[in-house]
Subunit: 182 residues, 2 copies
């Protein structure tokens, strides 16, 4: 999984070959080919891994729900991106496009969207309970927030230059967080 | 342009050839090849045409700003889509992905996003003036709304089945419009 991560950061998804991933793999390459029938099978496992790592890596406990939400936005939409981080973020979107033609990708991205919505709902519910957020509908707001994040990420990797700051996109999201805060 | 529209609805973008477009073209096919050096040049002109037709076709005058906003959401995110309309909506997203690798597409999608943001800002400003919307910041709200629409459309064409209703996505947007309304 780490080898796939490095390969995507270096090469992006467009030109990626299983050999590129194997080149980053320190263990037996035969093992890689033994485990996975093809690039897509490996990448779907990778998406699962990235999701788990991402959710696991989010700070909890020492932050208020609002701070958690802001950290999530920072993690998914940092103001600026290195060339490699940009390539990875673009790859994630290109992989999403496969969902249209490939049932396994579709299922994986449904799963990703469901997990992110559940995570957002959980933050919002705790924030409402703690009176940090207004009495909003956590289901509708989590759904809306996922569309906002998905849309802002799509816009970033398509119409913004890799090193172009996304101040206007972020300001709009920050203003939205302000609005739902008590 | 109408020939391109029909060809995209029939074939989608993935497998589209200039010949597919020429096949839908009732006038001289030589004319098509004379005007455009390649498929991409034609498609960028097409995107410009679709944007102009779309903005032109939106009802005005007889509706309140809030109704205009709801009509815009209906137009971009109808509850259900025919197979052909779905293919067209997916094509629009696949064409957006070209922006990453192709400067001409990037410029075109920047233009599309700018025009849509300006249109949204105009609706919001008139709605605020008419006290139909709360005293929101029209710039930040227009930017946010475009991310919402882009994200919801991206999610629809990737994780939803072509004929699957998008009630949850729409309900979240409707609740958001409710919230910003006075």
């Amino acid at each position: 999984m780490e080898a796939t991560y490095r390969a995507l950061r270096k090469h992006g998804y467009g030109n990626l070959t299983t050999q590129d991933i194997a080149d980053e793999f320190e263990n037996s390459k035969a093992l890689l080919y033994y485990h996975y029938e093809g690039k897509d099978e490996l990448l779907i496992d990778f998406l699962d891994y990235v999701l788990a790592e991402f959710l696991d890596g989010l700070p909890r406990g020492d932050r208020t729900p609002r701070e958690e939400l802001e950290t999530l936005v920072d993690a998914l939409l940092p103001e600026t991106l290195s060339e490699e981080a940009y390539r990875l973020q673009l790859s994630m979107f290109e992989l999403r496009m496969n969902a249209r033609h490939d049932e396994a990708y579709r299922e994986e991205y449904r799963h990703i969207d469901d997990e992110l919505t559940a995570h957002l709902r959980d933050i919002l519910e705790r924030g409402i309970e703690a009176s940090e957020f207004e009495a909003i509908d956590p289901d509708a707001e989590a759904e809306l927030f996922l569309s906002i994040l998905t849309g802002a990420r799509a816009r970033r990797v398509t119409v913004f230059e890799p090193d172009e700051p996304i101040g206007s996109l972020r300001a709009a999201i920050d203003a939205h967080i302000d609005r739902i805060s008590a």
